[in-house]
C-alpha cells in the first residue's frame, strides 16, 4: 500500500486532547473561584470538566483552515452578485421585506451572540467548552459581518437597509422582540446563556429560522442571502452540537442540576418560539414563492425533530415543556394574526407589507383548512375592500407590548381565537402585562429582572424617543412621526408595497435589463 503524502502525525482524538486539555493550566497565584467568579452562582454543580468533549473534535488549526475556505467561497459569490446585477434576479421586490426583517432583526443578534459566547468562553472553568465557545464567538462575528456585507448590495438600490444595526435594533418597537431575547440571555449567568442560545435557539429552533429562510431565498432567486445563509449555517451544525453536549453534560454531572435545567428549557423554549413568530409571517406571507407553510415547517422541525430530542432527554428526567400544548394550537393562527398586525402598522415599520392577493389566499386556505377561511380571510377581505376605495387602513397608534417577550398584545386565548390574550401580574404595587401564560410564568419567576424591560412603545409615549430639541407642545405634533425620525426611518421605507418606490424602481430596472430603450 502507498504511503499517503499527507498522512497525519496525530489522530483526531489525540490532536484534540493536546490542543484543548493540553493547553489548560492550574492557577497558582489566585484561587480558581476568583478566576472564574460566575461559575457557581446559578447553582449548577460540576464535578469533572474533562467529561465535556466536542464531538467534532475541532481544533484551532483546522478551524482556521475551514473557515478561510468558507469565506473564499462566499466573497467570490458576492463579487459575482454585484458585478451581474444580482438584485434583479429576485422573484419580486416584495421579497425584500423578508430580507430587511432579517438584516434589522437577526444580524444584530449575531453580534450579540459573538459577545455572549466570548463571555461564556471566559467564564467556564472547563477548557473543552472554553475552546468551543471561543470558536463560536468568532463564528458569530463573522455572521454579522458577512450578512451586512452581502445585504449592502441591496442597500445600493432599495429602501430600508440603511440603519438596522446602527439605530433601529435599539429603538424600533418590533425589533425589541429579538433584541430583548438576547438581552435576557446575556444578562443571565454562563450556564443559562448556554441553554438559552446554545440549546434552545441553536439546537431546538435554529432549523426553523435558517433552513426555511435559506431555502426560501434560493427559491426566490436571492443569491446573496442564500450564500451568506449557507456560509453561516455551515457553522451552525457545530453550534447545535455544542448546545446538545452542554445540556447532556449538565444533566450527567449532578442530579441536582435537573430542576434548574428544566426551568431554563421551559423558559427559553417559549421565549424562542415567540421570537420565531416573525419567521412564521415570512414563510406564509412574505415569500412571493413559498417553500412550505409555517405549520409544515413547525411539524417537521419542531414536532418531529424536537420530539426525537425530548424522547432522548427523557432518560435524564427532562420533560417536554408545558408550552408545547399551546404551540400546537398556535401553529394554525400565529402567522395570520401577526401579519394582520404588521399590515395595519407598517406606516411605522422599516419595511413594506401588503394584503395577500386572491391566489395567495387560496394557498393559505389550503395550508390552513381549519382556520384561514373561518377567522382570517374575512379580515383580509375587509382590508382589501377599504384599500380598493383608497382608504388603506393603518392603526394610528402603536400597540401595547408584552413585558417579557415584547411582542405586541395580538395573540389570542388558547381556547378562543377571537379574544386577545392578556395576563396581569402585580409586583411592588405596579401592574405588568404579559401576552400568554408562558410569558406570565417567566415574569412571575423573576419580576425584578423584567420590570426593567425597556419597552419602545411605552418609552415613546413617555416622551423618550424623539430627536433632540423636539417640542411635543407644538401645533399639530405627531408623536409617531417624530419617533420614526428618531429611528432613522424615512416615509419611503414604510407602508404598503403597492405604490412604494421599491416597487417602481424594481419594475423600471428589470425593464431596463431586458430592453434596449
Amino acid at each position: 500500500m502507498d504511503m499517503k503524502a499527507n498522512k497525519k502525525k496525530l489522530g483526531l482524538k489525540e490532536k484534540y486532547a493536546h490542543m484543548t486539555r493540553g493547553l489548560d493550566w492550574e492557577t497558582t497565584y489566585q484561587p480558581k473561584d476568583k478566576v472564574f467568579p460566575q461559575a457557581t452562582f446559578e447553582g449548577i454543580k460540576v464535578h469533572d470538566w474533562d467529561k465535556w468533549e466536542d464531538p467534532f473534535r475541532l481544533t484551532m488549526d483546522a478551524y482556521w483552515k475551514y473557515q478561510a475556505e468558507k469565506e473564499r467561497k462566499l466573497y467570490a459569490v458576492l463579487d459575482a452578485f454585484a458585478q451581474n446585477n444580482g438584485h434583479l434576479g429576485i422573484t419580486d421586490a416584495r421579497y425584500l421585506s423578508a430580507v430587511k426583517l432579517f438584516l434589522t432583526g437577526i444580524s444584530p443578534l449575531e453580534y450579540m451572540a459573538h459577545r455572549g459566547f466570548a463571555a461564556a468562553g471566559r467564564n467556564f472553568p472547563g477548557v473543552g467548552p472554553r475552546v468551543a465557545c471561543l470558536m463560536q464567538s468568532i463564528d458569530e462575528v463573522r455572521h454579522a459581518q458577512t450578512q451586512i456585507h452581502a445585504l449592502s448590495n441591496y442597500n445600493k438600490f432599495y429602501e430600508g437597509f440603511h440603519a438596522g444595526a446602527s439605530h433601529q435594533i435599539e429603538r424600533l418597537w418590533y425589533l425589541s422582540v429579538p433584541k430583548s431575547f438576547f438581552d435576557d440571555a446575556f444578562s443571565a449567568g454562563p450556564f443559562e446563556w448556554m441553554i438559552a442560545i446554545g440549546f434552545s435557539f441553536e439546537y431546538v429552533l435554529t432549523n426553523l429560522l435558517f433552513v426555511p429562510f435559506m431555502s426560501g431565498a434560493a427559491y426566490n432567486g436571492d443569491m446573496a442571502t442564500v450564500t451568506f445563509g449557507f456560509s453561516a449555517q455551515s457553522d451552525e451544525a457545530r453550534h447545535m452540537t455544542l448546545g446538545l453536549e452542554c445540556i447532556k453534560f449538565m444533566l450527567e454531572q449532578d442530579p441536582d442540576n435537573l430542576p434548574i435545567v428544566q426551568k431554563w428549557i421551559d423558559k427559553w423554549a417559549w421565549r424562542g418560539i415567540r421570537v420565531l413568530s416573525l419567521v412564521s409571517t415570512m414563510m406564509d406571507y412574505m415569500l412571493p414563492k413559498r417553500v412550505m407553510s409555517w405549520k409544515e415547517a413547525w411539524e417537521i422541525y419542531f414536532e418531529q425533530n424536537g420530539g426525537a430530542l425530548f424522547n432522548d432527554l427523557a432518560k435524564y428526567g427532562i420533560k417536554v415543556p408545558d408550552c408545547i400544548a399551546q404551540c400546537t394550537v398556535d401553529k394554525e393562527h400565529q402567522s395570520h394574526q401577526l401579519w394582520l398586525t404588521l399590515c395595519t402598522h407598517s406606516h411605522a415599520m422599516g419595511l413594506h407589507t401588503w394584503l395577500p392577493d386572491a391566489e395567495e389566499m387560496d394557498w393559505l386556505s389550503a395550508k390552513y383548512p381549519n382556520t384561514f377561511d373561518k377567522y382570517y380571510r374575512p379580515r383580509f377581505d375587509e382590508l382589501r375592500e377599504r384599500a380598493d376605495k383608497g382608504e388603506r387602513f393603518f392603526a394610528n397608534t402603536l400597540p401595547m407590548l408584552c413585558q417579557v417577550c415584547q411582542i405586541p398584545m395580538l395573540f389570542t386565548e388558547p381556547d378562543d381565537p377571537t379574544k386577545i390574550c392578556y395576563r396581569e401580574s402585580e409586583f411592588q404595587g405596579e401592574k405588568y402585562h404579559t401576552c400568554s401564560d408562558g410569558c406570565k410564568h417567566i415574569f412571575d419567576d423573576e419580576p425584578e429582572k423584567y420590570i426593567q424591560a425597556w419597552l419602545p412603545v411605552y418609552q415613546l409615549y413617555q416622551g423618550n424617543c424623539w430627536p433632540e430639541g423636539t417640542d411635543p407642545t407644538a401645533e399639530g405634533f405627531n408623536p409617531v412621526a417624530k419617533y420614526l425620525e428618531w429611528c432613522h426611518i424615512d416615509a419611503k421605507d414604510t407602508g404598503d408595497y403597492e405604490g412604494s418606490s421599491d416597487q417602481a424602481n424594481f419594475a423600471a430596472w428589470r425593464g431596463a435589463a431586458t430592453q434596449n430603450t
Binding site: 499517503k4 499527507n6 497525519k8 489522530g11 483526531l12 482524538k13 464531538p55 467534532f56 473534535r57 475541532l58 483546522a62 475551514y66 475556505e69 468558507k70 467561497k73 435554529t206 432549523n207 435558517f210 433552513v211 435559506m214 431555502s215 426560501g216 434560493a218 427559491y219 442564500v226 449557507f230 449555517q233 455551515s234 451552525e236 451544525a237 457545530r238 447545535m240 452540537t241 446538545l244 447532556k248 417553500v291 418531529q304 425533530n305 420530539g307 426525537a308 430530542l309 424522547n311 432522548d312 427523557a314 432518560k315
Partner: protein
C-alpha cells in the same frame, strides 16, 4: 426509533458525499430541497471516509464536511475514519 438527519448544500463537492452516504446506509432516505440536500435515517447514520475517497479519487479529511454542512440532528461522534449520528434511546 427516532429519525436522525444531516443536510448539505447542493453542489459538486457534496454530490459524491451524498452518494457515499446513501450507499453505506441502505435505510437512509434522500430529500432534495431548493439548494439543499437532506438525508433522513431511522435511528442512526454513518459517514465513512473511505467511501468518499473511493468516489473522489483523493484523500479526504472528514472535517472537510464542515464546509458544506447545513444542519444535523442526533448525537454526533467523529474520528478519523467515520462520523456517526445516532439517538441513543
Amino acid at each position: 426509533m427516532s429519525t436522525v438527519f444531516i443536510a448539505f448544500q447542493t453542489n459538486e463537492d457534496t454530490r459524491p458525499i451524498v452518494e457515499s452516504i446513501l450507499a453505506d446506509n441502505p435505510h437512509a432516505v434522500l430529500d432534495e430541497q431548493p439548494a439543499m440536500v437532506k438525508i433522513n435515517a431511522e435511528g442512526s447514520l454513518v459517514i465513512k471516509r473511505e467511501s468518499i475517497e473511493e468516489r473522489i479519487g483523493r484523500d479526504f479529511d472528514l472535517q472537510e464536511l464542515q464546509v458544506n454542512l447545513i444542519t444535523l440532528s442526533g448525537y454526533l461522534d467523529e474520528d478519523d475514519d467515520q462520523l456517526t449520528l445516532a439517538w441513543k434511546n
